[in-house]
């Protein structure tokens, strides 16, 4: 939990200077926004899943992710934000989630839900493990709880992959989803600007760079899906010093710098419709704070 010079940050005030605080804030926005939006899409399967059992299980996953979003947004509140400006009155262009999580599901495309969940959960697993010994205590203190739940999500996704991959129809649908979603999954590892990710690693807030996480992620995904007879697109070793993959491997919109597909503003408008219609100016809290 320490950098070469042994730094450790108990809270926001201990971060040295504006740039350090901004780097941590950016990392938190990526975490929180990914979780919020992936969960928002998962909830579309409630009352629409293939069986009552899968309906209940997917709702569990969605609520876990919503809970994680809530937890990371609460850390962001320490940077002077509140839920209103973090979610409800934020400009949709200011959201920093990767475009994987904002993609809509086609009707009945359970294979998409399974593949997306798997690609996301492995990425999440890599990312969280690299945060376990974070020098920033508010992150470090929360990673354990999140990791426990993510382990279950991964198991769940794998059990569905195995079941679907065993049938011809299921296999084909999984491969279609994988081909479509893989470029979007790469957005999860795209750094935003050219300097933040290096600063985050240098400060020891996260142990490994996004590029390193991406390589581990790809190897795991390739191994496992390959064992089910699925074809994972190759990942060219990153030659670019800034950590980006080749633009030709990425979708047109990455999301990390606010560059979203049209699906996002549409989804955001649905999410905030009640808040807007009723002219609300605050978001209701009904649960106890974690801290």
């Amino acid at each position: 939990m320490a950098t070469a010079d042994g730094a450790s940050y108990a809270g926001v005030d201990d971060l040295d200077g504006e740039e350090a605080a901004e780097a941590v804030e950016r990392l938190l926005f990526r975490l929180a926004d990914d979780e919020l939006v992936v969960a928002e899409r998962y909830t579309e399967w409630q009352v629409r899943a293939p069986t009552l059992e899968s309906d209940i299980s997917l709702a569990n996953v969605a609520q876990d992710e919503l809970g994680h979003a809530r937890l990371w947004y609460q850390v962001l509140e320490r940077f002077g934000h509140d839920e209103t400006d973090l979610i409800w009155e934020r400009d949709p262009e200011d959201f920093r989630h990767g475009t994987l999580v904002e993609q809509p599901f086609a009707d009945g495309d359970w294979a998409d839900a399974v593949v997306r969940g798997y690609l996301y959960d492995v990425a999440e697993d890599e990312r969280l493990h690299a945060l376990e010994d974070s020098t920033f205590a508010p992150i470090r203190d929360r990673v354990g709880k999140v990791l426990d739940e993510e382990a279950y999500h991964l198991e769940y996704a794998e059990s569905w992959l195995e079941r679907l991959a065993g049938s011809e129809d299921g296999h084909e649908r999984l491969q279609d989803a994988l081909d479509r979603l893989y470029p979007y999954a790469l957005t999860l590892f795209e750094p935003g600007d050219g300097t933040t990710d290096a600063r985050i690693v240098e400060m020891g807030v996260r142990e490994r760079s996004l590029g390193a996480l991406r390589e581990s992620w790809h190897d795991r995904v390739d191994d496992y899906l390959g064992s089910l007879g699925l074809r994972v697109p190759p990942l060219e070793p990153s030659e670019r010093a800034d950590g980006h993959v080749s633009p030709t491997d990425l979708p047109d919109h990455v999301g990390r710098e606010g560059d979203h597909t049209d699906h996002w503003p549409a989804l955001f408008a649905e999410m905030t419709g009640t808040y807007e219609d009723l002219g609300r100016d605050h978001a209701t809290r009904i649960m106890d704070d974690d801290e």
């Binding site: 409630q46 009552l52 839920e83 009945g108 009723l278 209701t284």
Partner: protein, 316 residues
């Protein structure tokens, strides 16, 4: 040897019968009808509320709505299981009847719900009414039904609190919120009064269900209990009770609702699944279920392959 109906009536009491008993078909059919109706209602209630997971105006409300919808699917699962154990219909048959428009469910869930201010009409009033009925079903003579009610009532308590909290927030909000909520209440109030069905002398299934202990209270008793508790609550939150349908409290604490003030033609067309908006909801759900039929086929194939040795992996 199969118990005869007279013996069932003689022995009828709370949690008296279980799958270990060889019960007559009349009993099993009546219990299946009740359980299937109840389970279907959970599913269609969840269907009605799911858009509000997305439309919730705060992160914690969103979490609560997602959990509520999930609970209701869980209640459906539990109730279908309790129904299946009667040996009359399988869960697949019941779910397929629901999709085809043959399955019956609560009147309130045939109406569309589109606005946030409508949500407490279901989550507070209808769920509150359902709680009344469900609490009495803990005494049902069919043990699996009574047992399911233990869990359902426990969770339903949270739902009603959640609904009450939304109502309180709306009625303490801006004048616009209060006005919209009052309008939603006026629209839903007659439907809520019809929740308990027509007065007892018009109810057809009650006598047998009561005689064999499947039901322990009449529609009129339940309606009275609900009004005694929820009319004051509505007024506490600043809701005005509409002049019509006329309702009057008697000296003994019971209530009379002037039945002619309620639209029974609509009620009975709903009961036959012929009410247009309700039919739209039934069919929209059917389409969503048809879209994932391919997944169920994959699961069925696996199960068929695994059969003859070990059982298939649970489809969760």
């Amino acid at each position: 040897m199969t118990m005869d109906v007279e013996e069932v009536k003689r022995r009828a009491g709370p949690r008296e019968f279980s799958p270990a008993d060889d019960l007559p078909e009349e009993y099993r059919t009546a219990a299946t009808r009740m359980l299937e109706f109840h389970a279907n209602s959970e599913i269609m209630g969840a269907y009605l509320e799911r858009p509000f997971i997305r439309q919730s105006p705060s992160l914690e409300r969103k979490l609560a709505f997602s959990a509520k919808v999930q609970d209701e699917i869980g209640h459906g699962q539990l109730l279908y299981r309790a129904a299946e154990s009667l040996g009359i219909k399988t869960r697949e048959e019941m779910l397929s009847d629901l999709a085809n428009g043959d399955g019956k469910f609560l009147n309130c869930f045939h109406y569309p719900m589109t606005e946030w201010e409508e949500t407490p009409m279901i989550a507070f009033f209808v769920d509150g009414a359902a709680m009344r009925r469900q609490a009495t079903l803990k005494q049902s003579s069919w043990e699996p039904y009574a047992h399911a009610m233990d869990k359902v009532c426990f969770e339903e308590g949270f739902h009603v609190k959640h609904g009450e909290s939304i109502l309180a927030e709306l009625m303490n909000g801006s004048r616009k919120e209060q006005r919209l909520t009052q309008a939603a209440f006026e629209e839903w109030w007659p439907r809520i009064l019809q929740f308990f069905g027509p007065t007892d002398d018009q109810s057809t299934h009650h006598d047998f269900a009561a005689d064999v202990g499947l039901k322990t209270m009449t529609n009129d008793e339940l309606r009275t209990a609900f009004l005694n508790s929820y009319l004051p609550k509505a007024e506490t939150y600043g809701l005005e009770i509409p002049d019509e349908p006329r309702i009057r409290q008697n000296d003994d604490g019971t209530w009379d609702v002037v039945e002619d003030d309620l639209d029974w033609e609509e009620f009975f067309s709903i009961a036959k699944n012929e009410y247009e908006p309700g039919l739209g909801q039934i069919n929209a759900r059917k389409e969503a279920q048809a879209a994932v039929e391919w997944v169920r086929e994959v699961l069925d194939d696996r199960e068929a392959m695994a059969a003859g040795g070990h059982t298939g992996q649970a489809a969760d």
